[in-house]
Amino acid sequence: MIEIKQLTKLYKTKHQQVQAVDDISLNINKGEIFGVVGYSGAGKSTFIRLINRLEEPTSGTIKINDKDITTMAQSKLRKERQKFGMIFQHFNLLWSRTIYDNIAFPLEIAGVPKNKRKEKVLELINLVGLSGREKAYPSQLSGGQKQRVGIARALANDPDVLLCDEATSALDPETTDDILDLLVSINKKLGLTIILITHEMHVIQKICHRVAVMEKGKVVETGNVLEVFVKPQSKTTKRFVQQLNPLEQQQEAIQSFINSRDDSEVIKLHFIGNSTRRALISEISKKYDVDINILQGSISPTQEGAYGTLFFEINGQKDVIHDAIKYIQASGVEVEVLKHVE
């Protein structure tokens, strides 16, 4: 649905050039929630602004439904922008207008007559769960409520795409989850394509179908959320994934269990998708003459299914341990034997 080809943005100042976005090519499918994650300064903000041309690209093309945005004349672009809803980190509501009038603003811009506006605004206020607060001013709302107004405003002209610029970064964790739930329900209910940028891997994990990892203006990795989380390729991605998985940081706790003996191994399992539902450990302990001591484990849900890791110590005869490991591998769960390091 959205086709981005060799998109580049170069900022030139007198003293230096900054390649904010460097040769990005991506395809975003209709109805998916696509996440872009990166540290600050990675170029994500510029990237999302290039999509509706709030920033002019230096080169490259963006096509939405086969229409080329990049070559569009200003007046046509303004019309086209109504097909993109956008929400912001700091909400960007007009403080001088009530909630009702804030949501009505994009409709005014689109030239919707007044009586039709009312119906749409009330419907949207209902959708985002703010009924009864129409006459309040933004200053009277909490951060989460402000973002709900932002979302309602972004949906006013029935957009095809919703662009989220760090939409939850200014919110507390609980409110973040509420807003993310709202985005998922909108995505399902309206079939809306959502592109979001964030520096929080948690957000990606919770709602995205696919993810691109950005670093220094480039996309260093892209793929299904589950794939990227389980098998991160680049260094940046690994760091992001580790952030989410507290076990990765607690590996030292396991070190004392790892030794060079033949009759004891420490094993790390990666479960993906359906295999998280399998009682694998209990199967092994029944089938093989081994003792299993579970050290630690975790499981995380994503939109594409769950993934988890489990660390355990296995004691028994060398060849029996070997067979047990083979059995696990055959079941489709990834096995990693942690070796003792002198």
Partner: protein, 222 residues
């Protein structure tokens, strides 16, 4: 009692002068708002990184604003005599003070307008652009409403400066309370008249400040 304190004050003259002062304030404030907002918008919009970014227009407007702000008001009146004569047909009376008052105050207000507009959240302008707003929509539905409290407190300050200018204009026959204080008070050494005019002017200033504060407060929903 009042007659003892102010033996030379004629209330008829006082009211007449107050009325003239009010006329001058009202019309010059309206003129200042129109030209000040126009110039202020132009200064803001043509600045680097804004909607109509244009270095030449920005430099040109900024120069005009700075020049007129630099000229002392009393000299500006003198300089504008031919222009006033052409525009109003006379250089005497309160009507003749208007061009100088507006030309003197508008550049001052323009700078205040520019500052007010700069305070408008860039994110809100960006949000409006993302909705497909035209430049006109951004000006009238975002920039001006969002900076309204600052625009109002700015015009309050300017109106009070204008009251000062009007008193100065009185020295060269523009009418109003300044004229009365100078001609009937100072020239005849009737200082009670000067004092009465001062009280009237101070009261007028208080009234304007009060109205400005209230307006600015009620409109501010931040």
């Amino acid at each position: 009692m009042l007659n003892d304190l102010f033996p030379n004050v004629k209330m008829d003259d006082m009211w007449e002068a107050t009325r003239e002062t009010f006329y001058m304030i009202s019309i010059s404030v309206i003129g200042t708002i129109i030209f000040g907002v126009l110039l202020g918008l132009l200064l803001f919009l043509t600045a680097q990184g804004n909607l109509w970014q244009n270095r030449w227009i920005n430099g040109f407007v900024a120069t005009i604003v700075n020049v007129f702000r630099a000229i002392p008001f009393i000299i500006l009146i003198l300089l504008l005599f031919p222009f006033t004569d052409f525009l109003i047909g006379t250089i005497r009376g309160w009507e003749a003070a208007l061009p100088a008052l507006i030309i003197g105050a508008a550049p001052f207000y323009a700078r205040l307008v520019e500052i007010a507009l700069k305070e408008v959240d860039k994110g809100v302008i960006e949000a409006a652009k993302a909705m497909g707003a035209t430049g006109r929509t951004i000006i009238f539905k975002v920039l001006l409403p969002e900076s309204m409290p600052a625009l109002i407190s700015g015009i309050t300050v300017t109106a009070i400066a204008l009251i000062g200018y009007i008193a100065i204009a009185g020295l060269i026959g523009a009418g109003g309370l300044g004229d009365l204080a100078y001609m009937q008070g100072f020239q005849r050494r009737d200082f009670d008249v000067v004092f009465a005019c001062t009280i009237f002017i101070v009261v007028i200033v208080f009234i304007f400040q009060f109205i400005g504060d209230i307006l600015s407060k009620t409109i501010d929903k931040r």
